[in-house]
C-alpha cells in the first residue's frame, strides 16, 4: 500500500513537472505546477508531515500560485505565445542539466553515509501521541521563536517592497 501511494504521487509529480516545463502557455504551466505541488503535499502526508501538507496546499496552491495567475492575467501573454518557448542557449542548458542530473542520481545511488534506523527513532512512540501539528507548534514557539519573529518581519518587508515596486505613484 505504501509503495502504491509512493508510485502514484511520484508519477503525478514527475509528469506534471515535465508538462510544466514544456508547456507553451504560461497559464497551462501554472496549472501543471499546481498539480506538482499537490503531489508533493501528498508525499508530505505520506512522510508523516501533516502540518506541512496543509501549509503546502494553503500557502503554495492557495497563495503563491494565485499570485502567479494574477500576474499572468495582468501581462499580455498573447505576444509570448507567438515566439519560441525555449531561449537561445537551450542546447548548452540541456547539456548542463544532463550533467547535473547524472551527478545527483549517482551520488544518491552511491551514498551509504547515514544508517537507515538511528537510535533517535526510539523517541518517536512517546511523541507520536501528541500529533504532528502540536509537535511542530511546540518546537516552533519554543526553540525557534526568534527565527519565527524574523520571518514575520521578512514577510512585512517583502509586502512593502512589492507594493512600492508595483505601484506607479505612491
Amino acid at each position: 500500500m505504501d509503495q502504491f501511494f509512493f508510485y502514484m504521487f511520484s508519477a503525478v509529480i514527475l509528469v506534471m513537472a515535465l508538462l510544466c516545463v514544456t508547456a507553451k502557455n504560461a497559464v497551462h504551466s501554472a496549472i501543471f505546477l499546481i498539480g506538482t505541488l499537490l503531489g508533493v503535499a501528498g508525499l508530505y502526508l505520506h512522510l508523516g508531515a501533516e502540518f506541512l501538507a496543509g501549509v503546502q496546499v494553503i500557502l503554495y496552491v492557495g497563495g503563491i500560485m494565485v499570485l502567479f495567475l494574477f500576474v499572468i492575467m495582468l501581462v499580455n501573454i498573447d505576444q509570448t505565445l507567438k515566439e519560441a518557448i525555449f531561449s537561445g542557449q537551450w542546447k548548452l542548458g540541456l547539456i548542463g542539466v544532463a550533467l547535473l542530473g547524472v551527478e545527483l542520481v549517482w551520488f544518491v545511488a552511491k551514498g551509504t553515509g547515514l544508517p537507515e534506523k538511528p537510535e533517535t527513532h526510539a523517541a518517536a512512540p512517546a511523541a507520536a501521541q501528541l500529533g504532528n501539528v502540536q509537535q511542530v507548534g511546540d518546537v516552533l514557539f519554543q526553540s525557534y521563536l526568534l527565527p519565527f519573529e524574523i520571518a514575520s518581519i521578512l514577510l512585512l518587508v517583502a509586502m512593502v517592497g512589492a507594493v512600492v515596486m508595483a505601484k506607479k505613484r505612491i
Binding site: L47, L67, V71, L104, T120, N132, V139, S143, L154
Partner: protein
Amino acid sequence: MIPVSWYLILSAVLFVLGVAGFLIKRNVITVFMSIELMLNAVNLSFVAFGYMLGDYNAHIFVFFVMVVAAAEAAVGLAIIMLMYHNRKSLNVDDIELLKF
C-alpha cells in the same frame, strides 16, 4: 516502508527538471515557476531526511523555506510586472543590460 533513497532520487529528478526549466525557458514567468519547482524538490528531501531521523526540526526548516518562497514570489512578481511595464516584453533574452 519505502527507503529514503527513493525519495532522494525523486527529489533529484524534480530538482533537475526545475533547473532545466530555469535554463531553457524563454518566458520569465515560467522561469520563476521553475524556481518554485527547485524549492519544492529541496523541501521534499528535507522532509524525507527528517522522517528517516525521526526529527521534527526538518519540518521547521521546510516551514521557513516556504515563508521565504512566499516573500520571494511577492517581490519577484512585482519585479516582473515592473519589467513588463518598462520593456513591454517577458522574454529573458531581451533583458541584456548587464550582458557582457
